[in-house]
């Protein structure tokens, strides 16, 4: 289809295909559970877009079309693995157990973080493209020094693949044989810039030049994303070093709610990718192979609706933070300028001089 080296275990029509290196190990029950994940995350995404349009979020970065890549990769993680996301890894955050309302704190601009990253073993979203890849490699070097049976999964897109930090991360991970998996979602666009501007060769082939394997997987095939990520993580934990995975996918929506993709891409292309939808193909598989009852799908849809309603309520309940909170945790140890600012603002607040 896209590339003969593409790992695919399920066609866009939901039919299984064999691959020499990877076989699906998921049970029908697991596939249904991951289908549920995808549906809920897509609903989360739609609700968040609505909330932004209604002025309740400052911004939203949609993932429609990338649910298969993220739920596949996210469910391949072991509990003690650590993940380093961009700002678009809502499916990974879901798999890590980050409460969805916490995920939206950043986008409602009531926090610059939103959750305890150590508790969920999921780092905070990194907005400066590629920074997180080096942070992830450093964490993996820590795992090595601790002799722990853990691995790191870090994310970036085709756009960030041009960043020096990503490429430096490749060098370091390779030189130190760090237990890390680089998961690149090639969704074809960095805002408006096509991936062809980022790389003249398929991105996964870059890995070979850095001294570790690169695998291109059908990013809209959840089964393939799961198996490829699982194998790469196992290899990393066993001391086999890094792997780069290029999940070849498509950003069905805008870059963010501030973007207008009609200015730089044609509807025909979007139509082609609609037929490769990651959720629909799993649904086809479930119906065909597991005879999943329509009532099961209905129940998941209803659950997603209830989820969205609760999410909306939770978001609307997030009030303006206490202005004085900006002074908390700026430093770990007392700092005179921070304390001076805190005193000054407290006085202004006491006199009603600021809103």
């Amino acid at each position: 289809m896209i590339d003969e080296e593409l790992v695919q275990l399920l066609t866009p029509e939901g039919e299984r295909v064999a691959h020499p290196d990877y076989a699906s190990t998921l049970s029908g029950e697991q596939i249904l559970s991951m289908y549920r994940d995808m549906v809920i995350v897509r609903r989360l995404c739609n609700e968040s877009t609505s909330l932004q349009r209604q002025g309740q979020l400052a911004l939203w970065a949609p993932i429609q079309g990338q649910e298969g890549a993220q739920i596949g990769a996210g469910r391949a993680l072991a509990p003690m693995d650590f993940t380093f996301p961009t700002y678009r890894e809502h499916g990974i955050a879901w798999c890590r157990g980050v409460p969805p309302e916490n995920l939206l704190r950043l986008f409602r601009a009531v926090s610059n973080g939103g959750w305890d990253p150590q508790k969920y073993r999921h780092h905070l979203p990194t907005i400066v493209l590629g920074n997180q890849v080096l942070n992830a490699v450093g964490y993996a070097m820590g795992i090595q020094r601790d002799g722990a049976d853990e691995a790191v999964l870090t994310f970036f897109g085709d756009g960030a693949s041009s960043q020096g930090d990503v490429l430096e991360g490749f060098v370091w991970a390779s030189s130190f044989n760090a237990p890390i998996v680089f998961f690149c979602q090639n969704n074809q666009f960095g805002i408006s810039t096509p991936s062809s501007t980022q790389s003249k060769v398929p991105l996964f082939r870059r890995a070979r030049g850095f001294g570790f394997p690169g695998v291109r997987v059908d990013g809209n095939d959840m089964l393939a994303c799961y198996e490829v990520t699982k194998a790469a993580l196992e290899n990393a934990r066993a001391g086999g070093g890094p792997t780069m995975i290029e999940a070849y996918t498509y950003r069905m929506g805008a870059h963010t709610t501030s973007d207008d993709p009609t200015r730089y891409r044609v509807d025909a292309e979007v139509e082609v990718w609609k037929h490769r939808d990651p959720i629909e193909r799993i649904k086809s598989l479930l119906v065909r192979e597991y005879q999943t009852n329509p009532t099961a799908f209905d129940a998941i849809s209803e659950e997603a609706e209830a989820f969205a309603l609760k999410l909306r309520d939770d978001v609307l309940a997030m009030g303006r933070p206490d202005p004085l909170s900006m002074f908390d945790d700026a430093y770990a140890e007392p700092h005179p300028l921070v304390e001076e600012g805190r005193r000054e603002m407290a006085e202004l607040l006491a006199h009603g001089s600021v809103v």
Partner: protein, 328 residues
């Protein structure tokens, strides 16, 4: 009191050694710091004694040195990153201001960014371009960071250990022109807190304030006019961010005159901040406007003419004359 004489370079080496002995989570990372011991030999012998897992010779990529130290900090390690020269820190600037400075705050205090970025800074060694710069103001301006500078071997020995122990990220500026100067080091008692300024020489007419390489120049300036009856107080700032203003205020209330000395360009600098803040705090004590003796607003010059750029005793004394010339 166990004191011994050593160079600042050796004192830093001993300080790093002691920090590594005290805490197995302390790592060193940098370019050529292992077998070579660093281009200034600050880490000499440490890889041999602590192993390659703790004294890490890295690929040549400064952003990665700091970026991976961030990940190691999240994992609970305290990494001391060596930037080979001041002019090579800029590839890491993004990681320092975007991640190092912010992650403690962003994580609501969960992450501890207890890393130290060692920066040989300032000029005076006759080096070629990009090896003599004073970038401290960039970092001092950034909330979330702390910036300190040692000027003596004793401070070097203790301040590097205190910086490593700190839970905040610290830019540790080492005046490379003083690496080979010797001084007494007290191996038992830390002299003072990491963020405290110190009066190096007492005086009553003018307060001289500086840090790093400038401290010795200021002391020489003070010595040179002592016989003429001019009494200059010399303050070693030690901490550039935050600045210990209480020590400066106490001095200025006594002298009423201020001269700040730095190698960095004058405009929008550490000296600018000191003059502005002290004008506000000591307005009624001032007998003259605060004056800055600094580098010029040009790229650092070729080393053959660097002594015309760096603050000298003569330029400091000229500034002293100017502040003494105001009627009060």
């Amino acid at each position: 009191m166990a004191t011994t004489t050593m160079t600042m370079a050796k004192a830093l080496n001993e300080g790093l050694r002691r920090a590594m002995e005290n805490d197995p989570k302390v790592l060193l990372m940098g370019e050529d710091i292992g077998k070579l011991g660093g281009v200034f030999r600050i880490t000499d012998g440490l890889q041999k004694d602590f192993g390659q897992d703790r004294v890490i010779d890295t690929p040549l990529a400064e952003s990665a040195i700091v970026g991976t130290a961030v990940g190691l900090a999240i994992r609970g390690y305290r990494t001391v990153c060596e930037m080979q020269f001041d002019g090579f820190v800029f590839p890491a600037f993004d990681q320092i201001v975007s991640q190092v400075a912010k992650l403690h705050k962003r994580s609501d205090g969960i992450y501890t960014m207890g890393l130290v970025i060692r920066l040989p800074f300032q000029g005076g060694i006759g080096a070629i371009e990009h090896h003599s710069e004073s970038p401290e103001a960039y970092f001092a301006h950034t909330p979330g960071l702390r910036v300190v500078s040692c000027s003596t071997p004793n401070d070097a020995y203790w301040m590097i250990q205190q910086a490593i122990e700190s839970d905040d990220p610290i830019i540790f500026c080492e005046p490379k022109s003083r690496y080979w100067e010797k001084g007494e080091v007290d191996l038992e008692n830390p002299p003072r807190g990491l963020y405290d300024a110190v009066v190096r020489r007492e005086g009553s007419d003018v307060t001289l304030v500086g840090y790093g390489s400038s401290v010795k120049t200021m002391v020489r300036a003070a010595e040179s006019v002592e016989a003429e009856g001019v009494s200059l107080e010399v303050i070693d700032l030690r901490s550039i961010a935050p600045i210990d203003f209480s020590t400066l205020v106490a001095s200025l209330q006594k002298t009423g005159r201020l001269v700040v000395v730095q190698e960095a360009p004058r405009s929008v600098s550490v000296g600018s901040e000191i003059v502005a803040e002290l004008t506000e705090r000591c307005f009624y004590s001032l007998r003259a406007p605060g004056v800055r003796v600094a580098g010029y607003h040009v790229p650092y010059p070729p080393a053959r003419i660097e002594e015309d750029y760096r603050p000298t005793v003569e330029r400091i004394l000229d500034a002293v004359d100017r502040v003494m010339g105001y009627e009060s």
